[in-house]
């Protein structure tokens, strides 16, 4: 039972990381029908940017709330800028092209980001500073919960709830939903589609940046090619929940995190990916549009 509860906590932590990344995929997909394969690499990129921001501003070791906030804000800003740049250079020129051309462009952009990380920070694993968050540990009934985990769970929940309300309550959110449903009709209603897509990339990249920093603080070691695996898992989470659906991405992320944690806790780590994809395929066989996906007719 202890293992179960412990893996629950770990699973929820990993799950909320997946959910944050999955939101980036699902929002871009919802609006542009594009699998943004570069998003995972952007997440990895943010971890490295975070490292450099931390080293540049605070030198070796400073622990304070201000420091943490500064690192997060700076990193998010830089990564959001790169995300917008990515959209401008790699996706915008392809908006009228065949759908798969944009996929190739996304794969190319992923390669560019990944190899830029390698050229800038080197091919070896980098270690995240351990003093970004206090190393406080709570023990509740045999379950160990770290401060980092609490932080990850708390901040991700705040961000996800915030995003949900942003999408559903604000004017920009309504515009985003309108563009997701029908770009041409939205354009006729006076919505600036280009700007909405930019906003989507800013939000997605910011959430990805937060996830990247959390991955760094949680796992400590970061590598230039780690984005692919996190990205793929998050993408699977988005698909499980029903891609294009924001609560779906959150649900999918948490579900996948829990599932992964249970597999690694009870079965083995060697087969973790296999179980992930078997779960995905089983879900797709029974619910072809994901758990929360609507069964809409194919647009002709």
């Amino acid at each position: 039972m202890d293992i179960f509860l412990q893996q629950m906590v770990n699973g929820l932590t990993i799950g909320s990381l997946y959910a944050l990344v999955a939101l980036g995929y699902t929002m871009v997909y919802g609006v542009m029908r594009l699998i943004n394969f570069a998003h995972g690499d952007l997440v990895a990129f943010s971890a490295f940017i975070g490292l450099s921001v931390y080293a540049q501003i605070f030198g070796e070791s400073v622990t304070s709330l201000i420091a943490v906030i500064t690192v997060f804000v700076f990193t998010a800003a830089i990564v959001a800028f790169v995300g917008v740049l990515l959209e401008r250079l790699a996706y915008r020129p392809l908006r009228t092209a065949p759908r798969l051309s944009a996929v190739v462009s996304a794969l190319g952009a992923g390669l560019v980001i990944q190899n830029s990380i390698m050229l800038i920070w080197g091919p070896n694993m980098k270690i995240f500073p351990s003093d970004l968050f206090p190393s406080t540990i709570w023990e509740i009934g045999g379950i160990v919960i770290t401060f980092t985990q609490v932080m990850i769970l708390g901040l991700s929940s705040v961000l996800m709830v915030g995003l949900y309300f942003f999408i559903h309550q604000t004017k920009i959110g309504t515009a985003i939903r309108a563009v997701a449903i029908d770009q041409d009709a939205a354009k006729l209603m006076g919505i600036n589609v280009g700007r909405i897509i930019m906003i989507i990339f800013i939000i997605g990249s910011t959430l990805g940046a937060v996830a990247g920093l959390f991955i760094g603080t949680y796992y400590r070691g970061v590598t230039f090619d780690m984005g692919w695996m996190y990205g793929l898992n998050a993408f699977v989470a988005a698909i499980m929940g029903g891609i294009g659906n924001i609560p779906g991405a959150m649900l999918g992320g948490l579900l996948l995190g829990l599932f992964n944690a249970m597999i690694t806790g009870y079965i083995s780590t060697q087969w973790a990916e296999t179980f992930t994809f078997v779960l995905l395929i089983v879900i797709l066989v029974f619910r072809p549009t994901g758990i929360l996906g609507e069964t809409v007719a194919e647009k002709v």
Binding site: L89, L107, I239, T274, V278, L284, P288, E298
Partner: protein, 317 residues
Amino acid sequence: MMNKTSLIAMTLLIFMGFFPLFVDSAWLAVGTTFLVFSVVALSQDIILGRAGVFHMGHAMFFGLGAYTTAILNVHFGLPILATWAPAVLVPMLVAFILVFPIIHLRGDYLLVATIGFNIIFIQVLQNDVFGLTGGPNGLFGIDVVRVLGFDFSSQTHMYYMAFILLGITLFIMRNLDRSKFGRAMFYIHKDEIAAQSMGINVRYYKLYAFILGAGIAGAAGSMFSVQYSAVSPEAFNVTQSIMFFTIVLVGGSASLPGVLIGTFVMFVLPEMFREFETARYLVFGIAMILTMILRPRGIWPVRFGNIPSFLKKEEVK
């Protein structure tokens, strides 16, 4: 009458035929790899380019062929010749079993499912299931092709075997284009719903394309394992699948010259630019984006409009 394209094709084939006579062994190996990967890329094109099925796990079928040959030869001592049929049939069977339940899924979902197949395949190889796959190191010491006591073991032999394999593949693809299957696939790609309402069984043809593509990739895999006399999991991972996926789209889907150019760009050019080892993939990524922006349908796209040109009557000039 020969048109310009077939003239170029003939020239290329003749050039490739005499290629081993004026290059050293390093370039011969590059040439052989080009031929083998061309076959795989063409088989990916049957699925992705012709039937329009989003498929990003093709390295799995390539690997299944390679591992079938390797396992039958190393563990069971079968001669290479006897492994050829299983190396084609096993990928076809696996394609049928895996893809049948999900072929009706929408494009992007299928894309992820096929990536998933490839990842599962790699994990199966790495975990050395039943002690057959040799784990992360793979299998070594695969035999050469022997016919009636004669060994086909030199580089040049490998090259010509791959050359014949490419020839067979091109022949199959040409016949495919002219067949009922080819036309059905063409219309499915053009407009799936219209094709369906014309009575074309979309699911059946997509599955057919998948199985055919898997079989051809398996044959190439068998050739690949003999060429290197070894197989290991990383040659068949998702990165390779993405490579084949990209080749078809960068070259031009459903276009034979396009796919061959794609293979050349993705496999031979990197060999030429070995000096820029570290920055190579950065340049590659930029090139992929630029190609797609400048030529969204690929470098050498298919030309035909609504009716494939070979079905039209010869135009009077």
